[in-house]
Symmetry: C2
Subunit: 346 residues, 2 copies
């Protein structure tokens, strides 16, 4: 398999390198041939080429079996009025790869429950996946701006809504058979189309129970009854907000992976944490989110379920027994955590 890595900015390079080491170990151990090539994205790409997503990067990603990304952005490029911003690279890449379904699984490891802002008893049995639509909505709609006024259009077609909901239903039918579709159908036209489409798609999955929630209620229910949920599907901007809220429950962002999947590409895999410029270059970042993302890559892009499970078990083992980086209350380095994961693989 041919894998492109996009280390990006801040701690991105460190955590990506750790995940690549784990993938190399898996390849050697299980007799796979993984070729890696590294490309520039985000702030690093702006500095090198003036573009947040250089053509060479786009082409390489399109040709790859899967893409593993670190993180993009940082204070150096953070002026929101700048013409070129690191995030544009990520948005353009999502669009170019057609990865319309962003999966963010959330489970709270018992050892991390004490670090979560939520009371421990509420975290028991929390095990859900948010499926966020990733290539539509206000992120990609028409925009205008003059001195006095600005607009952003949120647009969705039935086809766009349907394909991401299908991913959600497929997932739900392999998991807890419960799907929560989140919208703001009492106010937005796109949400009414969303809800209508969800009802239609649900007919093809009679084994899955479909429930609708308004996005404001969902923001509340995620805190008061987080263990009720199985698969939550929503549009791009609502998903952006709800996945960060969900991530806060986990007690540390450092552990959480994501997979962005399309129909014609193996997908884009990245930890959900940001570029954390304050600890960049110090061998202090938690590589477990990137390594868990690599596990999702093994599963979803390469169909290597057994290998994915082995990596996830190794990550679990390290969360349980250490060594831990600072975000988990330990003093270990990125490299020590990587080595511990690799040791736990065998």
């Amino acid at each position: 398999a041919h894998l492109v890595t996009l280390p990006g900015d801040g701690i991105g390079p460190e955590v990506t390198a750790a995940a690549v080491d784990v993938l190399k170990h898996v390849a050697a151990h299980h007799g796979h041939d993984f070729r890696f090539s590294e490309h520039a994205i985000g702030g690093a790409a702006i500095d090198a080429t003036g573009e947040p997503l250089p053509d060479a990067t786009r082409e390489a990603c399109l040709a790859a079996d899967a893409v593993l990304l670190g993180a993009v952005g940082g204070p150096k490029w953070s002026d929101p009025n700048a013409k070129v911003r690191p995030e544009q690279g990520l948005l353009a890449l999502r669009a170019a790869l057609g990865v319309f379904a962003n999966l963010r699984p959330l489970k709270v490891h018992p050892r991390l429950a004490e670090r979560s802002p939520l009371k421990t008893e509420r975290l028991k049995d929390v095990d859900f996946v948010v499926v966020r639509e990733l290539t539509g909505g206000a992120y990609f709609g028409a925009k205008t701006r003059d001195k006095e006024r600005a607009t952003d259009e949120c647009a969705y077609t039935v086809a766009e809504i349907e394909r991401v909901l299908r991913r959600g239903f497929e997932l739900a039918s392999q998991r807890g058979r419960h799907l929560t579709s989140v919208d703001k159908a009492n106010v937005l036209e796109t949400s009414r189309l969303w809800r209508h489409t969800a009802e239609q798609v649900a007919r093809d999955y009679p084994e899955v129970h479909l429930e609708h929630q308004l996005v404001d209620s969902m923001a509340m229910l995620m805190l008061t009854q987080p263990s009720r949920y199985d698969v939550i599907v929503t549009e791009n901007l609502f998903g952006d907000i709800l996945t960060d809220e969900a991530a806060a429950l986990a007690g540390s962002l450092g552990l959480l992976p994501s997979a962005s999947l399309g129909d014609h590409h193996g997908g884009l895999y990245e930890p959900i944490h940001g570029s954390a410029p304050d600890i960049a270059g110090q061998d202090a970042a938690n590589p477990l989110g990137a390594i868990a993302s690599a596990a999702l890559l093994l599963r979803h892009a390469l169909g290597l379920e057994a290998e994915a499970a082995v990596v996830e078990a190794a990550v679990e083992h390290v969360v349980e027994h250490g060594p831990w980086t600072r975000d988990l209350g330990g003093t270990a380095t990125t490299s020590q955590v990587r080595d511990a994961v690799i040791a736990a693989l065998d």
Copy 2:
């Protein structure tokens, strides 16, 4: 003063009646002349007139010194594809009154900390107000819908952004002198205009520290560091989501008030809880949110700060010592709680 009450649906009539009783007691005790007139809104108005905001209601509200609302909506009128929906009445009323700034204060009473999903130590010193823009954005923008596609436009002018931010800065300068402006400036044009305008307005309030947060980060920070915030100002849809998230922290929705303020009207006051049809008509609803909203009415619409403080102290007293309705773990009725508040007023 002439006050219009809009009981609305579900538990709305019960909690509004309790708040009116408290206001009458305040009027008698402090020598004020409050006249009340009741009008229909929401589902009740649809049933009576076919319209969620009958003309008579709109006119009465426009002529009043302030409006006290219960709640609107319920399963009876909940089909999102229905032509006429209760929420439309509320949205049309907000627009008609020009109440562009929705204030939702949040403090967590120590007695309620155990009911909050958040760990008790995180709730210490939580004391913030969300100021949500209420008459603009995607709620009121152009919408389209055909069989295949739907759109919602989010539009903001500088003037709309500026006036709500000014409210936020005024409030912050009387409180903790810290204002957090929430946007999605890395993606949305309206958010970039918002951020730019916030920078401009901030010059007039040098005593207030302005900070920007992205809405996704804010959804996380509200859980991980809720005590850091003082005044949070944001656009309509982000505010809808974040205020419900914030409300979940409080341990019960039943207590939380809101005030919607404009430039040319005394304002619209309502508890943030919904119509709770499951307990409607049972004398079981918690009236404290409606009563606390009446206190905000005394303060903001009528300038009766002392009277507002007396009502708030009485509410605090009942939260502390009971009687409590079911949502707070007690068995008291709505009427018993109302009576206890009135007893505590003197």
